[in-house]
């Protein structure tokens, strides 16, 4: 008698938290049963019984875990729910499993999502309140200081503008976002010229793909841009923000990616940790894509996986688009390789102003950012005034900040006036302070 068992090549941990009792609203795409059919498929396929694939409990992110990343206004409990804490806590558990070497790879199949959440949080934007990947990254760097170089590959159909914002000035975090062109889709951002702050130029890479991009286009980007960059950068950890809304059946986007394509993409990127982001074709895409990602992470044959209505000849990439994508990959690779040659401003304060729109909660926030240029990663402060009426000065003293930047940060914190709140993140000391303005 044969064994009748499949063995995973990579020990794979799954944190499954479908939050069956949480939704934005009854008709919102981000609603209770979003992962129901995925759960059905995962169970029916017997994935959790495969030798080497195990399911683990999610955790609950603490105030401190969240404060390492976000300035929440007016405070943490006002902008999130328990579900957000568990979603972020699920990601932390996913990281813990890998770092404690309990598994080789992990997948946080959790909701609600997080990659549109920026450093300052006034509410919910793009269905996101707090940024799970960022919270996980800061948890990793705090608890495992030997881990320095981290890559986040965001394959959600929407630009990961929140993650980009949080790590914009961070020289150790490489953020690569592959998404539907921001001229055609929310959040209307993520262009090739956006390469990161001047102390971390080239550590943000945006790859906007034309609407209608198929498996061919995605796999081309994975093989010819992401893979070579990963090989050159040699990160300690690779995280994949695995949004699943590039699927041809997704109701709110315009791409033509398939479940088999997602599995292949996962194989090429080979992330240590996957995190579910968007994906709203809950019956026709998510069950199959998630199955594909799990099989691919575990190193189990996924060649039999396809959607019920899949036809191999259905989506073909036009050659003109393939040419465009190839050109884009070339120029992005060029930006990446020449990043150290880009001249940097070495002193003074660089100012950046922007307006952040919260589509879900209908908030507008006007921000001004002041970044001290320095040989160290450089302290910065954000002044924020939102339509909720809340205003704040938020000071971020980054990891590896020099003494001069640290005292500048403390001076900003102490002297800020005319705001409702003043908050400060001191990353090296792992201390987070807040006062009324």
């Amino acid at each position: 008698m044969k064994t009748g068992r499949i063995k995973a090549k990579n020990r794979t941990g799954l944190i499954f938290f479908p939050a069956y009792d949480w939704e934005i609203s009854a008709f919102h795409p981000e609603r209770k049963e979003r992962l129901l059919y995925t759960h059905d498929q995962v169970i029916e396929e017997g994935l959790l019984d495969i030798e080497g694939i195990s399911e683990f409990k999610a955790g609950i992110a603490t105030d401190k875990d969240i404060s390492r990343v976000h300035f929440c206004l007016p405070d943490i409990d006002s902008v999130i729910t328990d579900s957000h804490r568990i979603s972020a806590g699920g990601c932390i558990e996913a990281a813990r499993l890998v770092l404690e070497k309990k598994v080789d790879r992990s997948f946080a199949l959790v909701r609600p999502p997080g990659h549109h959440s920026m450093r300052v949080v006034h509410g919910c934007r793009g269905f996101c309140n707090i940024n799970m990947e960022a919270i996980m990254v800061e948890w990793i760097r705090t608890n495992y200081p030997h881990i320095k170089k981290i890559v986040i590959v965001d394959t959600d159909c929407h630009h990961g503008d929140g993650t980009q914002d949080i790590f914009w000035h961070d020289p150790d975090i490489l953020f690569i976002s592959v998404h539907q062109d921001g001229r055609t889709l929310y959040p209307w951002s993520g262009f090739p010229e956006d390469l990161g702050g001047s102390g971390a130029r080239g550590m943000t890479l945006n790859v906007p793909l034309p609407p209608g991009t198929t498996d061919d286009g995605f796999i081309y980007v994975a093989e010819n841009l992401i893979r070579p960059i990963l090989d050159e950068f040699k990160p300690d950890i690779v995280i994949n923000s695995a949004g699943q809304d590039n699927h041809y059946s997704d109701p709110i986007t315009d791409m033509q990616f398939t479940a088999g394509g997602y599995a292949r993409l996962t194989e090429i990127v080979s992330p240590d940790i996957c995190v579910l982001e968007g994906g709203y074709s809950i019956e026709m895409a998510l069950p199959y894509i998630n199955t594909g990602i799990i099989l691919s992470l575990a190193g189990v044959d996924y060649s039999y996986l396809k959607e019920p209505d899949f036809r191999p000849d259905r989506f073909k990439q036009a050659s003109v688009e393939m040419k465009y994508i190839a050109g884009l990959c070339d120029s992005m690779l060029n930006y990446w390789r020449k990043r150290q040659g880009i001249p940097l401003k070495k002193e003074g304060i660089v100012e950046r102003r922007k307006t952040v729109r919260y589509d879900t909660d209908n908030i507008v926030d006007r921000q001004a950012e002041f970044k001290k240029m320095c040989d160290c990663p450089g302290v910065f402060r954000i002044e924020t005034r939102a339509s909720t009426g809340n205003s704040a000065t938020c000071v971020h003293i980054p990891r590896g900040a020099c003494e001069s930047c640290r005292s500048q940060g403390i001076e900003w914190f102490d002297s800020a006036e005319g705001f409702d709140f003043v908050q400060m993140q001191d990353m090296d000391k792992d201390i987070f302070t807040s006062r009324k303005g």
Binding site: F17, F27, D40, I43, G46, D82, Y304, P308
Partner: protein, 553 residues
């Protein structure tokens, strides 16, 4: 009067219960022929066969048939559709892949390849196969493909097992394993049931015969002939139900049944036995068979003791009876005999056996006896710790459960089985939990079999968009209106249980528990298009009222 019979690997125990009291009990060695052991045990009891109203059997027949590779050759029709490569789950060359696919909501999207069914059926028939299994992916959402295959091969095979009859739960590989085992043990069980019936008739016992299932419930012999796979691992279930019957008021207690070869570990929590959530495993294969959560570890009273490089090693196997009872290999029992914790058998032989071990590792006899026992108890302790860790590791899927975690922490251990009393102080000391050894502890498993209620579980699914309600286990289907709610599904379930009580072999007094309940709105284009409801009902496992009265009072 009620007769409970537990055929274990080492001993066959028989108890006779009358008016809530154990009036007679018997322990005989298990013979190679199970029916022979049963008749030997029953006929050596001095009871009036006419008064017997209920006979319950717990045997290792199906378990051993699977473990010892004595399954009947079974052919398999497997219809998978896309997903994990289905051929990975094929256990032998009698598995045939049939094209066709059904999705998670029960919608057919690839029709069944009927010529393929025909081809496979002919091949299986030509190779002389009598028993076949039919499995399709998502058949618990829509069993049309399984039924269609059965209809096509009707009359050509003596035994047919279909996936949706086994369980209403999702899990295609487990469904394959469950059906394969059921198809393989069906002929074995059918022969056994008929020879048991004949043997009892020969003894003049006319009562109906029930069988114990892995979930600690019983079912009728006709159900046992249809679903023999449900009787695998029923031995440990008998132990737990026995402990439950003897100590019905324990709220949270672990059960240790120390036998000759193995110790079975189980759990009572919130005053009820604890189940294996997804289904039990056998021979390394996971099934959908609902069973009590148990683990067996190779440490028992007759565990062989050897010396390996100066170190004492206990178990995991049994190499015959203890030396004090005429065996040849020293055992834990001999160590207990040396220290005076048991009085059976020859003390001289026990001392001789333990002395041999003592001299091989340079210790005195008493010290050696204690070391042997502590080692054996240490093995049990490790298994017990892992078991509890496993019980408490189950992931949860809602915020409420996440914020209100429930950790199971036994307050007591109920010790049963032959060596239970002798080992009590050692186990209390090593595990640091108070132990109780109930009356009739040595035949507790036979009592468990005798007094367990009949049980059944059904799954109900309603999809108001597809206007359909189904119950896979009972092959029931109904058309439902858009206004159908979860309460309506509950009443449909209760009606179905009542209607099928005889078919399921249920007694009159069954209570119904809702073990799973989910209701989701289905939304399409920002509009609710229906409700998707899932419900699992089970009749409450427990002890028949005749016995329960005595234990509580």
């Amino acid at each position: 009067m009620i007769l409970g019979i537990d055929v274990g690997g080492t001993h066959t125990d028989v108890v006779c219960i009358s008016k809530g009291e154990v009036v007679s009990s018997m322990k005989v060695e298990t013979a190679p022929d199970i029916v022979e052991s049963i008749t030997a045990g029953v006929s050596s009891m001095n009871i009036d066969y006419d008064g017997i109203k209920r006979v319950v059997l717990s045997t290792t027949l199906t378990t051993n048939a699977i473990i010892e590779n004595r399954l009947e050759r079974a052919g398999m029709f497997v219809s998978a559709g896309p997903g994990v490569n289905p051929k990975s789950y094929f256990l032998n060359r009698d598995f045939h892949l049939i094209e066709g696919a059904i999705d998670h909501r029960g919608r057919q999207y690839i029709p069944l390849d009927e010529p393929g069914v025909e081809r496979a059926a002919r091949l299986l028939k030509d190779s002389g196969i009598d028993s076949v299994g039919i499995v399709s992916k998502f058949s618990v959402r829509n069993h049309y493909h399984e039924l269609r295959i059965k209809f096509m091969i009707e009359g050509r095979f003596k035994y047919v097992t279909m996936g949706h009859q086994m369980s209403g739960s999702l899990n295609f590989p487990r469904r394959i394993h469950t059906v394969f085992f059921n198809a393989g043990v069906l002929p074995v069980q059918a022969r056994f049931v008929s020879s048991v019936k004949k043997a009892f008739a020969g003894l003049g016992i006319k009562s109906r015969i029930l069988f114990l299932k892995a979930d600690g419930g019983t079912f009728s012999s006709s159900a046992a002939e249809r679903l023999p796979v449900e009787t695998i691992i029923s031995g440990p279930a008998a132990s737990i139900m026995g402990a439950f019957a003897l100590r019905p008021d324990e709220k949270c207690a672990a059960v240790l049944d120390i036998g000759g070869t193995t110790t079975d570990i189980g759990l009572l929590a919130l005053g009820l036995p604890v189940f294996e959530p997804k289904g039990i495993s056998i021979k390394g294969l996971k099934t959908l068979v609902r069973g009590l959560k148990t683990v067996s570890v190779g440490a028992g009273g007759d565990s062989a003791v050897i010396v390996d490089k100066g170190n004492i090693q206990v178990g995991p196997s049994r190499k015959g009876p203890p030396c004090c009872l005429g065996g040849t290999v020293p055992t834990v029992m001999d160590a207990l005999r040396v220290l005076g914790y048991v009085k059976t058998g020859s003390e001289d032989k026990a001392v001789k056996a333990v002395s041999d071990i003592a001299s091989a590792c340079g210790m005195n006899v008493e010290e050696t006896a204690k070391t042997i026992i502590r080692q054996m108890v240490g093995i049990i302790k490790n298994a017990y710790t892992d078991f509890l860790e496993d019980v408490n590791a189950n992931p949860v899927y809602t915020i409420y459960e996440m914020l209100h975690p429930e950790t199971v922490k036994p307050e007591k251990i109920i010790l049963i089985g032959g060596p239970a009393l002798a080992l009590k102080t050692f186990i209390e000391e090593e595990l640091g939990i108070p132990c109780v050894v109930p009356e009739n502890y040595d035949v507790a498993n036979a009592i468990g079999a005798a007094v367990s209620k009949t049980t059944a579980r059904i799954t109900l699914l309603a999809d108001t968009q597809r206007k359909q309600m189904i119950c896979p286990e009972l092959e029931a289907e109904d058309i439902i209106p858009p206004t159908y709610m979860i309460e309506d599904l509950k009443s449909s379930g209760e009606r179905l249980l009542k209607k099928n009580a005889v078919f399921l072999g249920l007694a009159d007094d069954y209570g119904i528990d809702v073990v799973e309940e989910q209701c989701f709105n289905m939304v399409s284009g920002f509009r609710t298009v229906g409700r998707n409801m899932r419900l699992k009902l089970q009749t409450r496992p427990g002890i028949i009222p005749e016995f329960r009265r005595k234990a509580s009072g």
